[in-house]
Symmetry: C2
Subunit: 245 residues, 2 copies
Amino acid sequence: MSNYRMVIQYDGTRYRGWQILGDSDVTIQGKLAAVISQMTGEEVSVIGSGRTDAGVHAIGQVANFHLQGNFDERALLAGLNRYLPEDIAVSSMELVDDRFHSRYQAVQKTYRYRIHTGEIPEVFERKYVYDYRMPLDAGRMREAAGLLCGTHDFKSFCGNRRMKKSTVRTIYEIRIEELPGELQLFFTGDGFLQNMVRILTGTLIEIGDGRRKPRDIEKILDAKDREAAGYTAPACGLALLHVEY
Amino acid sequence: MSNYRMVIQYDGTRYRGWQILGDSDVTIQGKLAAVISQMTGEEVSVIGSGRTDAGVHAIGQVANFHLQGNFDERALLAGLNRYLPEDIAVSSMELVDDRFHSRYQAVQKTYRYRIHTGEIPEVFERKYVYDYRMPLDAGRMREAAGLLCGTHDFKSFCGNRRMKKSTVRTIYEIRIEELPGELQLFFTGDGFLQNMVRILTGTLIEIGDGRRKPRDIEKILDAKDREAAGYTAPACGLALLHVEY
């Protein structure tokens, strides 16, 4: 049995997220599994490093899958890029140790959130940015970001209110870059809860526009209540950049 | 009467080009005129620096229009960006001399053509590049580009076979930039015939992939026959970058 590891890019706009639902046609995982099965004649289950929500993009999603037969990695890569829809591409494919598991072994993930702050609408990148179109104070947001880093119970930033497992996570870094008419937020951590990056972003925006104070982060973390945090920023601004093992 | 000059960006993917057709709903000019009329209550005709084909994009299209009333430029700019569809934006608006005419007074235009030469499909920029996905020899293309520069009869590069006016144009520069997995061609000239940049690009591609020799350019120009030149590269790779006055 062979274990293949691939890096995947996708424009999540028209998908219901990573994970296969009843109708596999509208998920990234479903599209990948369908093409691999068609090419190899084998039933295949594609394991991703984690789910991405409906509408969220990826530049470096990692996934692996097992095949009984021995298929050439380059042929699989070329075939996938020929038969996948134009909004999904596989950037690399390699044979890896049988024990490699893209979800269990992921140790660090980086997400990027793009906020368009300029006055003129973003025409070409409009599907990959949050069209906020108002200025934000990056200094205030950086102060708040500093308080979010470290190991905390992020229950207040979890979109799943019935989450039964631990909501403790470690954020290693939140970097905020200012570009002309755009703010880019880079989140690196050991893992993120459902909607967590989007709720962190919504909360940082409410701090950047003056509605909340940077110091409010402490109270929000302590509350362990989704209601205490800010709004969930839209999916389109978010992309999974890379996963480390 | 006031004369307004604006710079416009658009993603041309879903439009039938710049120029108003019977159904104004599917052209850039039609969309702009409709919104300006709605805001001002005046019939307006929007004059562009030139037409762009169906599917061609613009980053710096220039247009002007006249109004009887005196409307604030900033209010017009904000209103347009509020009511235009998300694939059209106005980046600037200014009151100009009554005699300014965006077509007659344009003295130089620059177009960019993007060719994706990498093996991995381009997911995020897929609507703005030509998905060629094979290597091209930029050296050969530069040699051919040098022979195209200058004042020539470009009849062989004109998509309109029944063109009655002069097909003589001057190309000031064709610059070819090599990026990872992409070739960008920048064309600067005093004006371009219908489909001319796309036929120039198709011909340069046939030289870059070895099907033709750089020196063939001389024969193609001499032929004054559309059949002598290469194919018309797809619209999606092309964008009007800027217009000079």
